[in-house]
């Protein structure tokens, strides 16, 4: 089940979309970078760690600021078109 719980600003949406796209880019780059290519590999690992941290920090900061509804088995999703935030749970308990 999916429930609308709030909205972020366009600038905030742009921030998380950039991080989302970067994570995707790093994931696919990881498939082709050789561990022996030391410099690029090190840079990739460090960037992935940093991007993940910034990604989770965005959700932590936004959920605290907007006080979105939450449940223990759920997670939030963002609709990049509308900037809407949805609470999603798999067991239909909403």
């Amino acid at each position: 089940m999916k429930k609308y719980v709030g909205k972020v600003t366009v600038a905030e949406r742009d921030d998380i979309r950039r991080l989302f796209e970067r994570r995707n880019g790093l994931d696919e780059l990881a498939m082709i970078v050789d561990r022996e290519d030391d410099e690029l590999y090190e840079s990739l690992v460090s960037d992935t760690r940093d991007t993940d941290a910034r990604f989770h920090e965005w959700w932590r900061r936004m959920s605290a600021a907007y006080k979105w509804e939450s449940v223990s088995e759920g997670h939030w999703e963002i609709d990049f078109e509308t900037c809407g935030i949805f609470l999603v749970v798999s067991d239909g308990s909403l």
Partner: protein, 395 residues
């Protein structure tokens, strides 16, 4: 988004009758050094390519005939964008328009799984087998017999639908295709293709009476969409609420076509404002080369494209047209059909077809809204359309 197109080959397995690529051949294949030089130039000149994001497109001929080269190009692009700290690393797509024949091959599938988060792939299927095979035929194998490609494409459609459920198909309508429009769109819907981008060719191929036949087909299609509820979740680009209105000469004066804001590179390393300006796309005119991978872009040659507006290129009848909005044009076809070597003369070969489309489009929306009103769902439908989102991503 910057749109950069690699013409990786001018070869194709098919010989579609309506194909605008008049100069297809098996000889012109892009080499790796040319592709690399193009990428190095583009990524190394941020002051020219200053867009927020990029679509790297691969076309042919049939692009997947060069899957090894494409795979190498995409790997290099990803590495270089990351290594250079280029902003496009956070905002890029790889885009393909394919005939679908090689889609299921091991190499193409390996490429897809490596890049799936950044891929958009459209498979061209024209509709029913009868319609598809009317135009999309295999190259002559020496027997002189015409052989359609429908069955060879269809076997890959389920896999494509699973991998890219949101990607649509592009259908091109020429004079001979008009009687099959309705059945073709409905057939594509039945295959699970929810987004059908469809348009009339811009070339002057239309015969007397085609506009009436076209209008009749679209009205029948409108009835089928309304009666069967396809307006929920399916799309056909012929029907659009924004078309068919007069345009203000000052406010609505932008160019329709994106040529010049795009960049194409061919096997010889020449740059074009769009693929339609390469030699193999032109019937009459000389290719319009705006630079090459060695010397870069001649920015003077881009100025006409970037300063081109609607009214400067349009004849009086278009400027005064009461149903002008949504009437499209292709800059390359305008150039090819113009009396002189200019991009500033708009071809109006589709004028009657556009007007027919507008009449059918008006019919569609009037019928749809009446039906929704009768069912008490008009407001709900309009609100849904306003807030319609195309995708949502799980975080």
């Amino acid at each position: 988004m910057k749109h950069i197109t690699f013409i990786v080959t001018k070869d194709c397995q098919l010989a579609c009758k309506y194909c605008y690529l008049v100069g297809k051949n098996t000889g012109e294949r892009m080499s790796w050094p040319t592709a690399k030089a193009a990428i190095d130039y583009i990524l190394g000149n941020r002051e020219i390519f200053d867009d927020d994001g990029v679509v790297w497109e691969f076309i042919g001929g049939e692009p997947f005939l060069e899957i090894d080269l494409i795979d190498r190009i995409c790997d290099y692009i990803k590495r270089e964008m990351f290594r250079l700290g280029h902003p496009w690393f956070d905002n890029y797509r790889f885009l393909f328009a394919t005939n679908g024949i090689n889609y299921g091959s091991a190499k193409v599938q390996a490429f897809i799984s490596k890049n799936i988060k950044h891929l958009s792939i459209g498979i061209t299927i024209d509709g029913t087998q009868r319609k598809h095979d009317l135009n999309r035929i295999w190259k002559d194998d020496g027997t002189g017999e015409e052989r359609g490609s429908y069955a060879d494409v269809l076997r890959n459609i389920p896999l494509w639908r699973r991998q890219f459920p949101n990607d649509g198909t592009k259908v091109t309508i020429s004079s001979e295709d008009i009687p099959y429009i309705k059945e073709s769109v409905l057939h594509l819907y039945s295959l699970g293709i929810r987004d059908v981008k469809i348009n009339c060719v811009f070339e002057d191929v239309w015969r007397e009476g085609d506009d009436r036949l076209f209008e009749d087909q679209l009205v029948e299609l409108a009835d089928a969409i309304v009666d069967n509820g396809y307006y929920n979740g399916y799309d056909c680009s012929f029907f659009n609420e924004r078309i068919g209105r007069p345009l203000d000469p000052e406010v609505d004066n932008s160019n329709w076509c994106g040529s010049g804001r795009m960049l194409s590179v061919d096997a010889a390393g020449n740059f074009y404002p769009c693929t339609r300006f390469a030699a193999y796309s032109l019937r009459v005119k000389r290719p319009r080369i705006i630079g090459n991978v060695r010397d870069g872009i001649d920015l003077n040659k881009l100025r006409p494209f970037l300063s081109l507006d609607r009214t400067t290129q349009s004849p009086g009848k278009c400027i005064e047209c009461e149903v002008a909005s949504g009437c499209a044009w292709c800059q390359g076809e305008n150039y090819d059909a113009a009396l002189t070597d200019t991009i500033f003369q708009r071809s109006t070969a589709i004028c009657l077809m556009h007007k027919a489309r507008v009449r059918a489009n008006n019919y569609y929306w009037n019928r749809l809204y009446r039906k929704l009103a009768d069912e008490g769902r008009r407001e709900e439908f309009e609100n849904k359309r306003k807030s319609q989102s195309t995708q949502s991503f799980s975080c």
